[in-house]
Subunit: 390 residues, 2 copies
């Protein structure tokens, strides 16, 4: 990527927005100091941001020494973005203000094998219905971003492959764009969740973050330099298909011994079916609590491979933060605690002190929140109001 | 990282230098077109580069239509950098000009367990001896970069851990800096080799490159956006310590079933010792050629896990190019061909078409070349001759 002057303008503008968000209320002088920019530059950027409504001057003033100065804050009502999560059996939507606060969330049911066209119809209906019911201003809605389980060509809005949705090479983004009057983005759901994890940390230190999801598949997402690492075709983080046993079980991808065959929910249920009629992770956990040996063994093995997943991701990416999420983590405290403990045991010793492992605190809104924020960031990056060089 | 205006100045300057290097001879007008910069900006940057001697005007002119224009080229003699590779039993040095041409290479022997202080003495002696013998201008030497097998804190010049050299928390860079009159850098050898792979590609397309080394250990290095991915503490790419078998063999790190226990030379020799007195990879390969079953089995397993390494790296990083290097690849065509074929078989199917696997063509100069180039890039980034905003 050529880093040209448009790029630096965007980066400067994003930095100012990030600093205002972080401090909630901040004076221009402090912005200049923190951003290491001249007062003139800060003034020019903030004036533009106020002109277009993203930032507002408040009635509050700094109380420190020197001249009284108006404090700036983000204008929460300046825009609304929509974040969407597509799952096998449901669609989740969130309408977010500029601070990332959910104004409305909705959940609608779908069939496992609904086509892209059907989902587009649902989305269109629901979005316009919410706008009408809640009297939202259509002009304020700047975009929608849809998080999808699987491999997504985010540049072209194509779902390359989603095992969960049963879609392959679906031009979902393009088709959704045809029926909606604001910008449509499509991305991998875990990459969006990782973006939300980065955006809504309490400490505003720039971390190298790996988010690992243990659910119907196993995936990882890497945040570096504040952005999602995507790889050549936005397919990075497919840790579920790393091979851990050349003599293991057949995976849905055709390879033998993929890591997900030991951890992903579908495979755990398949193993359980040899001994029981368990049809969900919940059933297996319950059987294990009753002391059924088969269930205990399946879960113990899953815990081991979940810990291996954490180690392997740490060795490859050297993050300072690992954030765990997904059904296996959220199901029971027992599984969560065991996976945390085993992960700490198995992390390559030289990196164990410098890597902290956390549990995601975003809950079920993680994907839609990241999607909403991604949509806003893309909108801001495309603003072209600063003609001069800042 | 805050991407400030110094950063964009550096990037613009690097882009111009890269374009001149790529085209060998190029006119300012074409530079402006390719870099998407104004003629004024290009003129200002090239004038600075000519003033400090890195670029020169040639006697050749463009022959196309329009006004005759002088062609620019890099000035190979403008500077010299030194690249160093430390191995168990030898030190390799290269003196490189601004085009990356090796002016002189030297190899000196060392003992496996030589201390940092001993190596520093060797290096100081050899460098000054080469300068004297070859009548090099000391003023032209702008820096030395040392590639080290293991984990290196490149910011502070500390070798955190190198199993091959037997060093731990050695302030090698700082100490070497005390005895040399030009800038000293220290880095992981594979990261430097990967940088050389990126710099000296024939096609100048920006690739996402993974370099995998199969040698005394197993490591990987990722090039993204033209730079080496480093992670939090410059420890990214420790694929040799990803766990592939929780019931496998004990690794030197204390974990069970690390990938390198199936591929790294030392482990292959250790396995071989159960059946033979083989003391090197060469011995095992020879025994396999004689049809000894133990040797065939060890190598077949190594081939399988080498292929798994390639797949796992592709799944995690989604590169478009994988470049293989190291003793296991360079030892015999048989191993190289088998590893290539097995890797292609095992790559996760959805990514197999978009990933090409190559063998490194840099040979034994790869690390020192990357080190020499890294030293030059760092020197150029620190130049502060452009006071105005470009």
């Amino acid at each position: 990527m050529k880093k040209n002057q448009d790029f630096i303008k965007r980066e400067n503008q994003n930095l100012i927005l990030d600093l205002i968000q972080e401090h909630e209320l901040i004076a221009r002088a402090k912005l200049a100091k923190l951003a290491n920019m001249s007062p003139t530059t800060v003034s020019r950027i903030t004036t533009s941001l106020i002109d277009i409504g993203l930032v507002k001057e408040t009635n509050q003033y700094t109380t420190g020494v020197g001249r009284k100065a108006t404090l700036l804050s983000l204008n929460p009502d300046s825009l609304i973005s929509i974040g969407v999560e597509l799952d096998e059996k449901k669609i989740r939507l969130g309408f977010f203000d500029f601070l990332g606060k959910a104004i409305i969330t909705e959940e609608i049911e779908k069939e496992v094998k609904d086509s892209p066209e059907t989902v587009i119809t649902y989305l269109k209906q629901t979005i316009f219905q919410v706008i009408e019911t809640h009297h939202l201003s259509r002009n304020k809605i700047i975009g929608v971003c849809v998080g999808i389980p699987g491999w997504v060509d985010n540049k072209n809005g194509v779902v390359v492959k989603s095992a969960q949705l049963g879609w392959e090479n679906a031009a979902f983004g393009q088709k959704l764009q045809e029926v909606l009057p604001f910008q449509v983005l499509v991305d991998n759901e875990l990459k969006l969740k990782a973006y939300a994890e980065k955006m809504f940390r309490k400490d505003k230190i720039e971390h190298t973050i790996v988010v690992i999801d243990f659910g119907s598949g196993v995936g990882s997402a890497l945040i570096v330099g504040g952005d999602v690492y995507r790889g050549f075709l936005n397919a990075a983080g497919e840790i579920g298909h790393t091979i851990v046993n050349p003599n293991g079980m057949l995976c849905t991808c055709g390879n033998i011994g993929c890591l997900q065959t030991y951890v992903a929910e579908g495979f755990l249920i398949q193993e359980a079916s040899k001994q029981s009629d368990a049809s969900s992770l919940e059933d297996i956990v319950e059987a294990a609590q009753y002391g059924h040996k088969w269930a205990v063994n399946i879960l113990e093995r899953a815990i081991t491979y979940a810990a291996i997943t954490v180690n392997n991701s740490v060795c490859m990416n050297n993050p300072d933060k690992v954030i765990l999420t997904g059904k296996l983590i959220e199901q029971t405290d027992y599984l969560k605690d065991r996976i945390l403990k085993e992960s700490r045991n198995r992390i390559w010793l030289p990196l164990s002190d410098s890597t902290t492992i956390e549990i995601s605190r975003l809950g079920k809104n993680g994907v839609i929140l990241g999607a909403g924020m991604q949509s806003q960031r893309e909108y801001i990056n495309q603003l072209n109001y600063e003609k001069e060089l800042v």
